[in-house]
Amino acid sequence: MARATVEQPPAATGTTLVVAVGLGVAFLLFMAFLNVVKSGNLLNESNLLYASLIFYSGAGTLYLGFGITGTPAYIRYASLATWAGLIANTGAVAHRWYEAGHPPFASIYEMLLMFVWTLAALTLIAEQKFKVKIIGTVTMPVAIVGVVLMQLLRTDVHPLVPALQSTWLHVHVTLAMLAYAACALSFALAMMFLIKDKMKTETFLAATSLFGVATYLGVLTRFEKWGGFSVIAWNPEEKSEVFLSRGVRLFVVIPDLGWLLLLVLAAVAAPLVLYLVWRKTQNEAFLNMANRAVFLSILLQVLALVFFLLRARDGRYASLDADGLFPTALAASPFILSGLVGGVFVSLLYLLLLWRRSDLERMLPAADELDRITYKTIAIAFPLLTLMIAAGAYWANRTWGSYWSWDPKETWAAITWLVYAGYLHMRITRGWRGRRAAYFAILGFAVVMFTFFGVTYLLPGMHAYA
């Protein structure tokens, strides 16, 4: 499909897609408007969020169109749509803040709301200030997934438990979001550097596969006996997890899903294995096989995702720890869901690279320019990380009487800080530039992701709020 479109003259494709997306956005907004007029309440949070979803989707389509065809006209309209989405998103944030009476950082839903906002804002900054136009191709789909995820989560305004009623918490979380966003940006820039720096497409293949393997290994820690897969039970009335006792969540087992995910793990690992065989034998046939295996793994990943969505949405499942059947929901497993969606997304990005590499390269700034911007974003991220840790420590000291208790989240935040400190030392005293610096930036972001997702999901600790 993607190959067919290039053969048409770019100008014509440009208008067609822009008009199509414009009509789509207008149509969806009109339908939504008709619905809203009936209920009478136009500017509330869910409407604004819906509007931003529509605009972000339009922007995402256009950015993707730009990624595939390289038509410059798309970018203009894509930025316009992003601006519109950002305005609606800002409205939703403001509405939420006003309703709740505190900055929206208290629940996963609110964090996601802020995360999507930051992502859209950063996309526009990167595009207009640093002229990295391709970045929307990556960030917008993430924003769309974020907004969709939000629809599944508990949205009512949560009163803050006493420990969270602190300005320092807001400072801490704001700094964390900003720091993580800057780290994400440095990661994206480092990736672009590697593309521009003529790193072999096969290496990206191995990296994609490695990412998939890591994700599915993490997900499969929930693998149960007899091929089941355990997820947290969900109470649809309360819109909250089911607790066995204080702090202990009840897990239910979805049968057969574990086998499917195991199969997907094998499919995701296959390109890596074939790549290694290719490295050993230098036989191009294996590389072709590996690329076909990526295709297969995408199909299987989508299948597993759909299966997971369907099984988690309806039905009641048995638990190993309690008698009876319990329902579950997607909202109970946001991390698994983002893992699965992330896996598909990264594989699709690889396909984009595989098919349209030369166009991508043409659209990127020069390699050493990218290298410099990567360093600059880390120079922003590092002080933010430092202050984030300090604000968290100060808050902990006011709440529990201890500024540092080596809890896993704290420890991993410190590890993140050390990794970026290592990057800075290598760059400044050893003059590490280019590839080595880019690898280091990627490593740093991997650690950030582990601190954000992995620690919450895989390790025990008291950072139960985020």
Binding site: P159, V161, P162, A163, Q165, S166, R372, A379, I380, F382, P383, T386, L387, A390, A393, Y394, W395, N397, R398, T399, W400, G401, S402, Y403, W404, W406, P408, T411, W412, A414, I415, L418, V419, A421, G422, H425, M426, T429, R430, V455, L459, P460, G461
Partner: protein, 478 residues
Amino acid sequence: MAASVPRKIWQTLGAIKTGVILLILVVILSAAGTIILQRPATEPDEMQRAYSPQVLRVLDALRLTDVFHAWWFVLLLSLVSLSIIAASVQRFPNAWRFFSRPYKSPDESFRNALPLHKLIPVKDEEAALSVADRVLKKAGFHPERIVRENSFSLFGERNRISELAVYIVHASLLLILLGGNIDALFGWRGFLTLTRGEQSSQVKPQNGSVRNLPFAIRCDGAGQENYSDGSPKRWWSDLDVLKNGQVVLRKQIVVNEPLVYGGVRFYQASYGKTGKLDRLTLTATPRDGQSPKDLAIGLDETLPLDADTTVRLAEFIPDYVVSDGHLYARSNELENPAAHLVLESKKSGQSINVWLPPIPGLEQNESSPYTFEGKDVQMAYFTGLEVSHEPGQWAVWAGVLVMGFGLVVVFYLVHMRVWIAPVRDARGQLQLWIGGTANKNKDAFEHRFGELVEKIESELKISVEAGAEAPAAVLAGK
């Protein structure tokens, strides 16, 4: 000459390679500490469930079940500190020389070696230098006239502190580690539970011992406020600090808002029922037809009912059951309360057991001169206070502030230097040599340098024209 062993060790400690290896070790070991279950936080039986006895024995022997307090982790952090100190001490003198004695007068070899420089032909040394002086001043470079035996020149710079920023950051890190060390050695944490009216000066640390404070803490009240949906909104305790029986400080603490006295901090940590009675409100009605009266009574408290009779609350069971003619407490919840009152007559010396509600086999309610009716039961609540003493935390916060400052300087302040000297080229033509350098962000500086040069050039032209001299002379030099 071979270096002595201590000197070699010192050099090794200060090497960047050593620092990086140590940091990698810290990363690996602290990651291990988050993956392996840790001792004080995890209950022993949970540890036994998670690991087999052999594995647990090995982990315990290697101190991997309490990584962050293990001697080798402390040793590692000390080595990191030493490495930072060594690296700073070895490199600092050079940086300090650079900082305290800036190179101001550019000689010929320096002028030739400096990559970023420009030559502008000029007519008159003095006029040109004063124009340059003005431009540099406007750009915030604080120019100064350097006069040597056989040369004179201009030197201007900005943000010289940037040269020392790395040492500021490293010093702040040492300060934080120092504070953490002080707390690890001299700090302590414990717990204190108080009910209303109770006072105590004994704090119980986790290891089962008791720590005596030089003052006492009294609780005047504690409570919980809820949101409309029933989830807790606020816990509070009114605390008094007593020294030699005198109240020296009074404060209401809530979560996030501790009481501090004598370097010891008291945090609101928990709040709950003790299962004990605080106060029972009763109505006592005399059988002789006199008016009834209300009384509030605590456990083991004796109150007079009339001139002859007193009442004492002997027992209170919040949730009772009767089995085989015996009374048992089922739980600490206020579910099914029973109160045991003892009426005593001074004259007869007789005592009568009254039970509310009447419990067959125990009660003598019929022989009592009063009938009792329960009105209200107030249960006692306890407030749990986390107590901590962290004498090193000030070093930590100071370190954090200094680090914030240091990082801003490291990343965002650029040390820029500009030298300007009048020189003569091979043909004897007088020129203004302008050179500049920056310690980071070099391309941005190049741009800025270009602007400075342009500014000087244009101002020179203006002043030349104003002096009514032929501009042709200036142009000819180009």
